[in-house]
């Protein structure tokens, strides 16, 4: 077997037994990058030289970290000291952070190797990577289709074996939706589980960093490392982090799984629905108990999300003004300099969201939009809290359809926004959720199963995901490239 096919657990096992070396693993991954990257275009920046230097440095060292020599791809909105961090935006095209994000610091302590920085929708605003200012990333299962987004580069890199695992960020589905489209595992942790320090903010109250991996166990391994309180992030919760891998393999007999009727509606692709229903049957055969539940405010989630996320974004993106770093365009005076810089620096979708958010926060509209949306958000969170009094996890499709074609939805932003209809409520509620492969469409496109858990109960969703994965073969399928 080719080494680049390995996941974290397998690779670490081989390295610890000295059957392979970090350098051999890295060479294999970069050979793979050399042969497929031109067709996939997952990476904005490939860190070949520094990666090889690091692998050589680890070569004959005793194994200390849990990621000793593991090449990981990192979404390009997570700051890496000395390595360009663009957010796939013209405005940060040449921005090199002088500081390291908390998550990558934690990976570094464990001996990881940064393979490169992956493409995304500009500032994580989008569901297809078509909003990248640089280029579109392709879905490894069908390069005429999108990989999903905004963490499309990370998802494609994992699915195409251009890395062993990856980090992404999820504001309204940006880890889970591309994971579903690319047939891999994507985990959005509970809001507050993982430090956001160093993650370039899109919507601060919704953003969360998480792993994209080839199997459930790898997601648990990465969450063990990146999770936990960080004094740089006041919204990260001071709660001890359990060993998530120890939950894996425990049986799920008697576990109650909620099936929300609002998620099985018209507009959901038949093949997707069948895939999910089959998965539920499979879980039932493993001893789980399915229960129909209701999440009554689901239909308001997308509208609520687009008010809150854009409001926060309009403020978060104000710092890109040409004064301190990033792109600066000249102007006759200060206002012109601001306008020219932001006009040339931001793409159409980013501008659209800044305008939306600015409007929603404006005096005279604040009550009707922002405050109302906050109230609805509370109702949506209560929907989940009520449901979790009855059930242990909730199961839904990750997306209403498999990966769509490049260009299919770019002309209609609303259609694009609806592709996150099943992932958005999870961010609004702040609960954790994972997407795992649960089948393929007739056209050979992956279908994703979303498993949602209680606040800070990633253990149960990982347990269910692992039980399902061990009972099926979907995760073993790879795209032919």
């Amino acid at each position: 077997m080719e080494l680049y096919r390995l996941g974290i657990r397998e690779a670490i096992e081989l390295i610890s037994k000295k059957e392979i070396s970090p350098l051999e693993l890295l060479e294999s991954v970069f050979q793979r990058i050399d042969s497929v990257e031109e067709r996939i275009k997952a990476y904005v920046t490939i860190e070949r030289e520094s990666a090889f230097n690091r692998a050589r440095g680890l070569e004959n060292k005793p194994m200390e970290g849990k990621l000793h020599g593991i090449p990981v791809a990192v979404k390009d909105n997570i700051c890496t000291r000395g390595v360009r961090t663009t957010c796939s935006s013209r405005i940060l095209e040449n921005f090199i952070p002088p500081y390291e994000s908390t998550v990558t610091s934690r990976l570094t302590v464990q001996g990881y190797i940064l393979a490169g920085k992956t493409n995304l929708d500009e500032f994580a605003m989008g569901s297809s990577t078509e909003n990248s200012a640089f280029f579109i990333t392709r879905n490894p299962w069908d390069t005429e289709r999108v990989p999903g987004g905004s963490s499309g580069g990370s998802a494609a890199a994992v699915a195409a074996d251009e890395c062993i695992a990856a980090l992404g960020s999820d504001t309204g589905g940006s880890i889970r939706q591309p994971a579903a489209f690319c047939g891999i595992v994507g985990l959005k942790p509970t809001y507050g589980r993982v430090s956001r320090y160093g993650l370039v903010a899109f919507a601060s109250s919704l953003d969360q960093i998480g792993p994209l991996t080839k199997c459930v166990e790898d997601a648990a391994i990465l969450l063990n490392i990146i999770g936990g309180h960080d004094h740089h992030d006041s919204t990260s919760v001071a709660m001890s982090v359990p060993d998530f891998t120890s939950a894996l393999g425990m049986d799920i007999k008697g576990l109650k799984i909620g099936i929300p009727r609002e998620y099985f509606i018209e507009g959901v692709d038949k093949e997707v629905e069948n895939g999910v229903r089959d998965a539920i049957k499979r879980l039932e055969s493993l001893g789980a108990v399915p229960l129909e539940i209701s999440l009554p405010h689901t239909e308001y989630a997308v509208a609520t999300y687009y008010i809150l996320a854009t409001s926060e974004a309009s403020s978060n993106l104000a710092r890109y003004d040409g004064v301190k770093y990033g792109l600066r365009m000249d102007g006759e005076n200060l206002i012109e300099m601001y306008m020219n810089t932001r006009h040339h620096g931001f793409g159409a979708e980013v501008k659209r969201r800044i305008i939306l958010g600015t409007y929603a926060l404006s005096s005279g509209y604040y009550e009707a939009y922002y405050r109302k949306a906050q109230q609805v958000r509370t109702l949506i969170r209560q929907d989940f809290e009520n449901a979790f009094k009855e059930v242990d996890v909730i199961i839904t499709p990750t997306t209403p359809t498999p990966a769509f074609r490049i260009g299919e939805k770019t002309r209609d932003p609303l259609q694009m926004y609806l592709s996150d209809i099943f992932t958005i409520p999870v961010n609004l509620a702040g609960v954790p959720a994972i997407s795992i492969p649960c089948g393929f469409s007739g056209e050979g496109l992956p279908i994703g199963l979303q498993i949602i858990g209680r606040h800070f109960d990633e253990e149960n969703i990982l347990k269910v995901a692992y039980a399902y994965e061990q009972d099926t073969e979907w995760h073993k399928r790879r795209p032919v490239l």
């Binding site: 940060l92 921005f95 952070p97 926060l361």
Partner: protein, 475 residues
């Protein structure tokens, strides 16, 4: 027609914390531009603020001292606007749930006491500074960006420029007592803006107001508001309208001048800061902060009157500054007689300190040394007159009185025989004056005392000199 002024103040006080509001950078004044910065206060992509608990405590302390209600769950909010000295494009401030609400400060003017009510006190971060040094560019210094700033807003309870200035004096005194702000108005660590309107005396509703900025001393507050009140009255008397606008005080020309009108005012689009959790101030924390509050000027003045039998004027002057009152109490604790210590402080010490523009906490002469000097006087080692010379020397060098006295040979002459010899010399050399004295011109005694002191360079014990002169002259 009689007009009445209606004034509300908005005060910004830089807090005396060691580090900034949301990062660990130092807050020291006057460093090289952009040397006291980090990714957080420069607003790099991806950074997050972390609340400086000390700053919260300072505001709550102030709120408690000013009789405010402390908000149990307080929130930070973002105030959005673009300006080069504002690195994030928003200022982290407070909007809907400030740390303190209500409260009041009592002022006294011409013997009348009056409560000025407060609307709120909140915490925010300062912006940086734009530097224009000519040319077609500006520079930005972010050393000050993120320094904690406390905003105190009053109700429109103030009715004259004098009241406004008095309010600021009292407030400054309290802030300095609490140790939360150095109160330096020239350097801008204490700033004050005023909302001013006038209305016919007796009218209930408010007139159109203007906002006055750039008043950086008590004197300017008084002058600027005086000017603005008269300007508005003049306009109204002529039947003209007041324009709602921001006006800057121009100290050189002694006038206020229009800066921007309300049409250009910003929509700040406040919303709760999602990067920070609400601040919870529970009973335990509140009690801890309450315990840190020192005795405030009014209470201390009352106590000085009762405990040390000081006249009210002395007590007021000595308690204006906490350091001054501490100095006084330390001297008394070490055995100085309260009224004597007060006299020396308000006389010699303050005169010298004011002359050199030195704060009492930086004075070289310490309470123990004054007490040492007083004990030399009490024990007749030196005379009161010599003591003033010795004190000047102590003030300059910080040395002990006893050392100076010995070194300069200033010990008082208490040897009766020696003084008697000198007295006799003086009387022999001034027969005419002796005659006049004996003829009834009693006030000439002072002349003889002066002559003796002159001959002894002031070192003769005045009590012995007096006794001997009376004895010899009446013989």
């Amino acid at each position: 027609m009689q007009y009445e002024a209606v004034i509300g103040l908005e005060i910004h006080a830089q807090l005396l914390t060691e580090s900034k509001m949301f990062c660990g950078c130092p807050t020291k004044f006057g460093a090289e531009p952009n040397t006291q910065t980090c990714p957080v206060c420069v607003g790099l992509p991806g950074v997050l603020p972390v609340i400086n608990k000390r700053a919260i405590e300072y505001v709550v302390k102030t709120g408690l001292a000013l009789n405010c209600e402390i908000t149990q769950y307080s929130r930070f909010a973002r105030k959005n606007y673009f300006y080069p000295d504002l690195p994030k494009g928003y200022q982290i401030s407070q909007y809907e749930l400030p740390l303190c609400r209500g409260g009041y400060l009592e002022i006294a003017l011409n013997g009348r006491r009056k409560k000025i009510r407060l609307t709120r006190i909140h915490l925010e971060e300062d912006a940086g500074k734009n530097i224009h040094e000519g040319g077609d560019y500006s520079l930005v210094d972010l050393n000050r960006a993120g320094v904690p700033l406390m905003e105190i807003v009053t109700e429109p309870d103030i009715r004259s420029a004098q009241e406004a200035a008095e309010f600021m004096r009292r407030l400054r005194m309290i802030l300095r007592y609490l140790g939360v702000c150095d109160g330096n108005m020239e350097q801008g660590s204490l700033r004050c803006d005023a909302n001013v309107s006038v209305r016919p005396a007796g009218q209930e509703g408010f007139g159109v107001k203007t906002e006055i900025k750039n008043m950086n001393s008590f004197k300017f507050i008084e002058k600027a508001l005086e000017y603005e009140i008269n300007r508005q009255i003049r306009l109204l008397s002529k039947g003209e309208k007041i324009v709602q606008e921001t006006r800057l005080w121009d100290a050189k020309r002694g006038i206020t001048e229009s800066m921007r009108s309300k049409e250009e005012a910003h929509d700040y689009r406040y919303f709760p800061e999602p990067d920070l959790m609400p601040v919870e101030i529970d009973e335990g924390w509140l009690n801890e902060i309450r315990a840190q509050i020192v005795e405030l000027p009014d209470a201390r003045m009352e106590r000085f009157i009762k405990e040390y039998n000081l006249p009210e004027d002395d007590a007021r002057l000595l308690t204006e500054e906490r350091a001054m009152a501490d100095w006084f109490e330390e001297a008394v604790r070490l055995g100085g007689h309260p009224k004597t210590v007060a006299n020396w402080m308000m006389g010699e010490l303050l005169r010298l300190l004011n002359k050199d523009g030195i704060q009492i906490e930086d004075s070289k002469v310490k309470p123990a040394q004054l007490v040492g000097l007083l004990s030399l006087i009490d024990r007749d080692v030196i005379s009161g007159k010599i003591a003033k010379t010795v004190f000047e020397e102590m003030y300059q060098t910080g040395r002990e009185a006893e050392v100076i006295v010995k070194e300069k040979g200033l010990l008082q002459i208490t040897d009766t025989e020696e003084i008697e010899r000198i007295v006799e010399d003086i009387l022999n050399n001034n027969p005419k004056e002796v005659e006049r004295f004996r003829a009834g011109e009693q006030k000439l005694l002072g002349f003889f005392v002066g002559q003796v002191m002159k001959a002894t360079k002031g070192k003769a014990n005045p009590r012995i000199v007096n006794e001997l002169l009376r004895k010899k002259l009446s013989a």
